[in-house]
């Protein structure tokens, strides 16, 4: 079914390697890592083997009035900040923002764990008088769609709300579902993305699954190591990313700057194990994405791999890429720079890819020094390349067996 063209007209990210476009591009070009020592949280951190975290360690100048702040946990602060920057950058007419023709697709892994932690402290504290302190505001801050609806409230957006919460595919689904919503005419624009805040609970979960990096606790910047022989697991991170998707004719008529075009999206499930990656499922997602975009494998020249740096995940992904593309496109695992920013990773990796696409370079996989021989059959980006990207595939996979593939084309 042929639909309308969908273009990206604004983007913004808060990442462990920078907030502004210039900072992020500089980090990519200079190989700067955003992985830092895990902070003491007086609860879990001392029990966690992995002592590293992809950290936003610079101040973000939030300037929200109390009427908006009162329903926001840390994750919603991130989400509303990138949403604000995207709307400022896009310059949409105010009457369009509130017209019902702009929707929001935004999510996080599990609302605000910081707020949830406070609720549980009260709950298990045992003092009857304190139970009443758990109120509507705590729920609004911690509920799973807190990012999406705090954005709608702040900007008076009255269109559709989609709030995916599928762990690592949360924000790639946001962009993908937003793309389909605009493509098939349900909305004329969608503000899409994801966010996750600093949270040691997530680290503890992956640590217990023995999926976290532990061998580089004394050298945080050296991990994660996507596809590398010495990789020993993922590094949890925090951040947020947002893009504005618009129907092409509308964007053109209003003279919007077009940063790229979304030309395809696919999402499927492995239909089985909820943790282990699945080569057949991932390969199928990659093929479905190409089919949706009506592109041949030789037309894709860059792949942003999910590549978390785990022992098995990277091998399965490399096998799937090779099965579909052979050794053609350059492959970079952007998590080498900032760890796994969870619900925001798909959006952040899309934005970093857009920056590289616009500036005509391909960043290497940070910490990939010697590819694991089981991952070596694909074309790894081993050094900074001054080279244009025409079409990029952004791949993300999540617990629960969810796989996504976004295809972005340089707009010329």
């Amino acid at each position: 079914m042929k639909g309308r063209r969908v273009v990206i007209t604004a983007c913004s990210a808060i990442t462990p390697i920078g907030h502004t476009r210039a900072e992020i591009v500089d980090s990519l070009r200079r190989g700067v890592s955003g992985v830092k020592p895990l902070r003491e949280d007086h609860l879990l951190s001392k029990f966690i083997h992995s002592q590293v975290f992809g950290t936003v360690d610079y101040p973000v100048d939030f300037d929200f009035r109390r009427t908006y702040r009162k329903t926001m946990g840390p994750v919603a602060y991130y989400a509303c900040q990138v949403a604000k920057e995207v709307l400022d950058q896009a310059g949409l007419p105010p009457q369009f923002v509130t017209s019902g023709r702009l929707g929001v697709a935004f999510g996080s892994t599990h609302g605000s764990p910081t707020v949830q932690r406070e609720i549980y402290k009260t709950f298990f504290g045992g003092a009857q008088s304190e139970f009443r302190a758990i109120g509507a505001v705590d729920y609004l801050k911690s509920m799973v769609h807190t990012t999406a609806v705090n954005i709608t409230k702040m900007f008076g957006i009255t269109g559709r709300v989609i709030s995916s919460s599928t762990a690592c595919t949360t924000s790639s689904q946001s962009i993908g579902f937003g793309y389909e919503t605009v493509k098939y005419g349900m909305q004329d624009a969608m503000l899409c993305g994801g966010a996750d805040e600093y949270d040691t609970t997530t680290v503890a979960v992956f640590d217990n699954l023995m999926a976290c990096s532990t061998a580089f606790n004394d050298r945080p910047r050296c991990t994660p190591r996507p596809f590398d022989r010495q990789r020993d697991g993922l590094v949890v991170g925090e951040g947020a990313g947002a893009v504005l998707l618009e129907e092409y004719e509308q964007a053109r008529k209003r003279g919007a700057a077009i940063l790229g075009e979304v030309v395809g999206f696919a999402c499927n499930n492995n239909g089985g194990d909820l943790i282990l990656p699945n080569r057949a499922g991932i390969s199928e997602t990659l093929r479905l994405g190409l089919k949706d975009a009506a592109l041949g494998v030789d037309e894709v020249d860059f792949i942003s791999a999910h590549a978390t740096g785990t022992k098995m995940g990277d091998v399965i992904e490399a096998q799937a890429i090779h099965a579909v593309y052979g050794g053609g496109p350059f492959v970079t695992g952007l998590k080498g720079y900032m760890g796994h920013t969870m619900g925001s990773c798909g959006a952040i990796e899309t934005i970093l890819t857009l920056y590289m696409m616009q500036d005509g370079f391909i960043a290497p996989t940070l910490n990939l020094e010697e590819p694991d021989e089981r991952c070596a059959m694909i074309r790894h980006t081993m050094r900074l390349r001054e080279q244009p990207i025409r079409v990029a595939s952004i791949q993300n996979f999540a617990f629960g067996g969810v796989n996504t593939n976004l295809l972005i084309k340089r707009f010329v």
Partner: protein, 89 residues
């Protein structure tokens, strides 16, 4: 407790909890200060702390029509009266 004391404490709650300084006593809180349903619930909690007394379900329902600071003060005065009667009964 005098009406003046109640007014001072309500204004303190508005400054401390809602970042609203010197609100007009007869201004419509929703229209003038974007005071909403979430704030109303927070205000009731603040009043409970001030009175050191839990409000009944019916008392909370009575508060739903309140629109101004003066109406809040009237409401709290009523609560104080009821509690005073209960104490002396």
């Amino acid at each position: 407790m005098t009406r003046e004391q109640i007014t001072v404490e309500i204004l303190n709650i508005f400054r401390r909890e809602f970042e609203i300084e010197q609100p007009g006593l007869d201004n419509d809180l929703r229209e003038t200060y974007e005071f909403d349903s979430v704030d109303a619930i927070e205000l009731l909690l603040g009043i409970e702390r001030f009175l050191k007394s839990e409000l009944t379900h019916d008392e909370k329902k009575m508060a739903m029509g309140i629109r101004t600071i003066n109406q809040i003060v009237d409401y709290v005065e009523g609560l104080v009266r009821v509690r005073g009667r209960e104490t002396h009964a």
